[in-house]
Amino acid sequence: MAELYDRHARPIYSLAMRILGDTTEAEDVVQEVFSQAWRQASRYSASRGAVGAWLLNLTRSRAIDRLRARRARPGGVSDDRIAERLPDAGPPADSQVLSSEQVARVRAALDELPLLQRAAIELAFFEGLTHTEIADRLEQPLGTVKTRIRLAMLKLRDVLAGTV
């Protein structure tokens, strides 16, 4: 477990920090993610990289759930918890392992996206907003926001695949 922690804690903590912007909450999420990984550890065997992607997926779900709970108005209940929707299983055995070079390419490509495309992607991925919430936040028509997100995701996919 210590080995798993040493290998993955930094990206997990960084993702939780990016989403929550709060060290205490980010630390709590890191602990929850490793606890869950440990409970489910006996049920899967997969490659390292796939474990990393799976752990980050858990991290994002838990962090976004906290963010949504924080945003929910007092009295309002967030009934759309994404962490509970995740399949109760380990990482898919056939998932692709990203190289650090691929991650660097995506980071660079993200920086080069038109500003509003990037903002839309980040609001969805790191703030957990839906398309209508993003359109409201950026004061853009919904159709425009959807198009921007599509274009940006396809661009990033092509960058990853190395076809650009």
Partner: protein
């Protein structure tokens, strides 16, 4: 051929939103039902999943606090120490006369020792991580990383403006020299100004566009200079002074290269 063509045509463009988690629950459920029976959409979703994996790594990287490691390992291996360790009072020979004082003193001592030990552990952990980090960076290529970081910081600050809680928006309309031009400014006192425009005519040589902030003061305040790309588009970020009076409008004029202290040229865009 997908099983349900009309449904497929309607839903196929939702895959990108779906993998980003940007579909509201009802649309998300409908899409999940669809991909269960549509191999094409399922394959598309699968092809996009490395993108979200990479996005998860795109967050600015921070070292977790060294004490977190012990906390996580302890909480999982079920050692009797609680998840959030509290320094325990060191057993001492208690003074019968002033037991509360002895207890208080030992608590303080234990807390101080605990803090000292935690600080030492934290320093060692931080040094180890820094060393590891430095090694990795050297391998990855110092210069490339610095470059990516710089661009990332710039983009981060543009994003920071767009998501600022005190965001104010001003729409600008094209004036007679450029009736088709339009622009939008997002301004946050705490974070600065993002300016986007489209359909702006190319500037002649020796000229530049200058963006002005209009306030209750009589003189417009220059926010900065910009030139559109060949398609007439602009996306620029400007820092604004924290004591900038509340903007009531913005305007864009054409000026000599290098800009001027107060507007002299034709107005191309105005928003109030």
């Amino acid at each position: 051929m997908p099983m349900n063509a009309p449904e497929h045509n309607e839903l196929r463009e939702q895959a990108e939103l779906y993998v980003l988690g940007a579909l509201p629950p009802t649309e998300r459920d409908a899409f999940e039902t669809h991909i269960a029976s549509c191999a094409e959409c399922a394959a598309h979703v699968k092809a996009l999943s490395p993108v979200t994996d990479a996005l998860a790594h795109a967050a600015p990287q921070h070292d977790p606090p060294p004490a977190l490691r012990a906390r996580v390992v302890r909480s999982i291996t079920g050692s009797p120490v609680k998840a959030a360790p509290v320094p325990r009072p060191v057993p001492t020979r208690s003074s019968a006369a002033l037991p509360w004082l002895a207890a208080a003193a030992s608590l303080i001592l234990a807390a101080a020792l605990g803090t000292y030990a935690a600080n030492l552990r934290a320093r060692i952990g931080a040094l180890e991580l820094r060393l590891q980090d430095a090694t990795e960076r050297a391998a990855a290529g110092e210069r490339q990383l610095a470059d990516v970081k710089r661009v990332s910081v710039e983009a981060q600050s543009q994003i920071a403006i767009l998501v600022a809680p005190d965001l104010q928006r001003i729409d600008l309309q094209g004036q007679s020299p450029a009736p088709k031009a339009s622009a939008r400014a997002f301004w946050s006192r705490s974070r600065g100004l993002v300016f986007t425009a489209s359909n702006l005519p190319t500037v002649p040589p020796g000229k530049t566009y200058q963006l002005w902030v209009l306030t209750k003061q009589p003189a417009p305040i220059s926010a900065g200079l910009f030139k559109p790309d060949p398609q007439g588009r602009v996306a620029a970020m400007f820092e604004t002074p924290p004591d900038l009076p509340q903007p009531i409008g913005m305007a864009v004029t054409i000026e000599p290269d290098g800009g001027v202290p107060s507007p002299t040229g034709d107005k191309y865009l105005v928003g109030l």
